[in-house]
């Protein structure tokens, strides 16, 4: 089995009194979708930053095999850049420091926008696009960067149900068709169920489990993770059994 990322005894702290992460070990298989779940403040974003190389782990080692691209949470830009400008920026590591993007960089960017069905919106200001369209623009940017691993920080957090489905479909498609390794954080266990093969649950700064989605995303583990009741449901969708998991809120209607 070929791994995209291997991390061994990863630890991170700003001072040795309080560790944000400690003793994290695991492998992320090349071409898989990998979901990370955990309550707020448990170190998910720190872990992503370590994977991206934006933070150096205080201890432990990390081995990455491939170029990475990042899709941040609630992506905002300070200027009125067009969707095309945003995608073109993905070519940064292919353009020399004093050089300008070439025609082939521009063609690759337009092709990536076409791939996501956004060619008609190429010159529309990025900040005027819907949340789902913005996420797709940033996906297109990751594609033109010719990344092997795409890391997404809560990609569905600010989206409506339709756009959540759109993003999940693209995560699935990019993994299946392009062979990309996709790592994303989420607060929705059913999103991990829908697209991920493996998942990491972060219970505490040095307490976690990592494994196959069906083994890890259980009612017991998720109740321990979030402190709420959840039910795992198998849905018969025209002969195909789909697994999902939903929170159960009780006592509101009495």
């Amino acid at each position: 089995m070929e791994y995209a990322i291997t991390f061994s005894n990863i630890g991170y702290t700003y001072n040795t009194q309080r560790w944000i992460l400690r003793n994290f070990n695991g492998n992320i298989v090349k071409g898989d979708v990998f979901a990370i779940l955990g309550p707020n403040g448990m170190g998910k974003t720190t872990f992503l930053k370590i994977l991206l190389g934006l933070l150096k782990p205080t201890e432990g080692t990390i081995q990455e095999h491939g170029r990475m691209a990042f899709v941040p949470q609630l992506f905002q830009v300070s200027f009125d850049y067009s969707a095309f400008d945003m995608v073109l920026m993905g070519r940064a590591n292919k353009v020399g420091i004093f050089a300008q993007p070439s025609r082939s960089d521009e063609e690759a960017s337009m092709a990536a926008l076409e791939r996501f069905g956004l060619a008609d919106m190429a010159h529309r200001p990025f900040h005027e696009m819907s949340g789902g369209q913005r996420q797709l623009v940033i996906f297109a940017r990751a594609l033109v960067a010719e990344a092997d691993i795409i890391i997404l920080d809560e990609p569905t957090s600010a989206l409506d149900l339709k756009n959540q489905e759109l993003i999940l479909r693209w995560i699935h498609k990019l993994s299946r068709e392009e062979g990309l390794t996709i790592i994303f954080t989420t607060h929705h266990p059913h999103h991990a169920h829908a697209v991920a093969k493996e998942t990491l649950l972060m219970f505490g700064h040095d307490d976690y489990i990592c494994g196959k989605v069906d083994d890890v995303l259980t009612e017991t583990n998720l109740k321990r993770l979030y402190g709420v009741n959840l039910r795992q449901i198998d849905i018969d969708n025209q002969g195909e059994i789909l697994k999902t998991i939903v929170p159960v809120y009780t006592g509101f209607h009495r």
Partner: protein, 342 residues
């Protein structure tokens, strides 16, 4: 519709370039001693040794030695301020940033005044202006960091305001204790003027501006990447630290030289990038050349007004503040900072 708008945007620097060249030529005729264009042509032909025209020594002095360096120093100062403001705003993702507000101008002014007071020659004034500008900018960054706030946020403006105010207090101190008799010159120079521009000053400002402008224009697409913010820029493979330092040093180099040759000319680095952004949009590949040309046009226009319309030559720095304040207020009211989403 979109394509024609993009076409016009792409041609804007060319149009502004032609406009700037025309203004440079036209402004030769303006001044306290107006000369009409037929006469200017005759004087130039006489100087080139083509044709035999009766010209006075005064006319030769004006067209050969007095106006060209002044016009070019004003143009290059405007170019330096316009492009510096646009680069700093993009790099720091902040529409309020200009060299004046991050302390560079104050630091350069302090260095320049110190050089004058201790009797250094022009090269010393320039060197101390540069050291003062760089020192002030470093202090601003350090102070913003100590305040533990993000470098692209309001902390930088506050720190720049503190450092700039401190430097100007230093300038006041030097003026108060000056025994060299240079006080009137210091005061007039600090208000921002191109009076006394000569070929030495032209050589300095042209060298620094052309070097700085070349580097900034070459980095124009990289400044787009910096404007995404550190995390995102690093995530797409950019070494933001190195790039920021290159830009800071280049901007300091250009602005300090501008202060050394013509004193403090505020508002240009703030207004010009905003107008340029309204004309060509936020892409720094077009925005930086447009800001440079508009800056040149703006400052040359102001200087032409001061030396031909106003009695006793109001300093350009005073005029730029008079004109700049309402323009900035209007832009902010009209656009409601459109294009800036934070």
């Amino acid at each position: 519709m979109i394509n024609s708008a993009l076409f016009i945007q792409k041609k804007t620097p060319l149009i502004l370039g032609i406009l700037l060249l025309s203004t440079i030529i036209v402004s030769l005729g303006f001044g306290s001693y107006p000369i009409d264009y037929n006469r200017i042509t005759e004087i130039i032909l006489h100087l080139l040794g083509i044709g035999d025209y009766a010209v006075t020594l005064k006319e030769i002095a004006i067209i050969e030695y007095i106006r060209p360096p002044r016009i070019l120093v004003a143009t290059l100062s405007g170019i330096a301020l316009g492009v510096s403001g646009a680069a700093l705003q993009g790099m720091m993702r902040n529409p309020l940033v200009e060299p004046n507000l991050v302390g560079v101008t104050g630091g350069a002014a302090f260095g320049g005044v110190l050089a004058i007071v201790i009797g250094l020659a022009q090269a010393g004034t320039i060197l101390l202006s540069f050291i003062g500008g760089l020192g002030a900018l470093l202090s601003t960054f350090t102070l913003a960091k100590i305040m533990n706030l993000r470098s692209d946020g309001i902390a930088l403006i506050m720190a720049g305001f503190f450092v700039g105010s401190f430097c100007l207090a230093g300038v006041g101190f030097l003026e108060f204790y000056d025994k060299s008799g240079a006080l009137p010159n210091i005061v007039y120079w600090l208000l921002g003027t191109f009076r006394g521009a000569d070929f030495t000053k032209l050589l300095l400002i042209s060298t620094t501006t052309l070097i700085g402008l070349t580097v900034i224009i070459l980095l124009r697409w990289r400044i787009n990447l910096l404007s995404l913010g550190d995390v995102d820029a690093m995530a797409i493979g950019i070494d933001t630290r190195k790039l920021r330092w290159i830009i800071i040093i280049i901007v300091t180099f250009m602005v300090s030289s501008q202060v050394a040759v013509s004193g403090i000319i505020g508002w240009v680095g703030l207004i010009v990038p905003h107008i340029a952004r309204m004309l060509v949009g936020p892409d720094h590949r077009l925005l930086l050349p447009t800001s440079a040309l508009l800056g040149g046009l703006f400052v040359l226009g102001l200087d032409t007004i001061t030396r031909s319309v106003t009695q006793g030559e109001i300093p350009v720095g005073v005029l730029s503040a008079f004109i700049g304040t309402p323009i900035v207020s209007f832009i902010f009211w009209k656009t409601k900072t459109k294009g800036w989403n934070e």
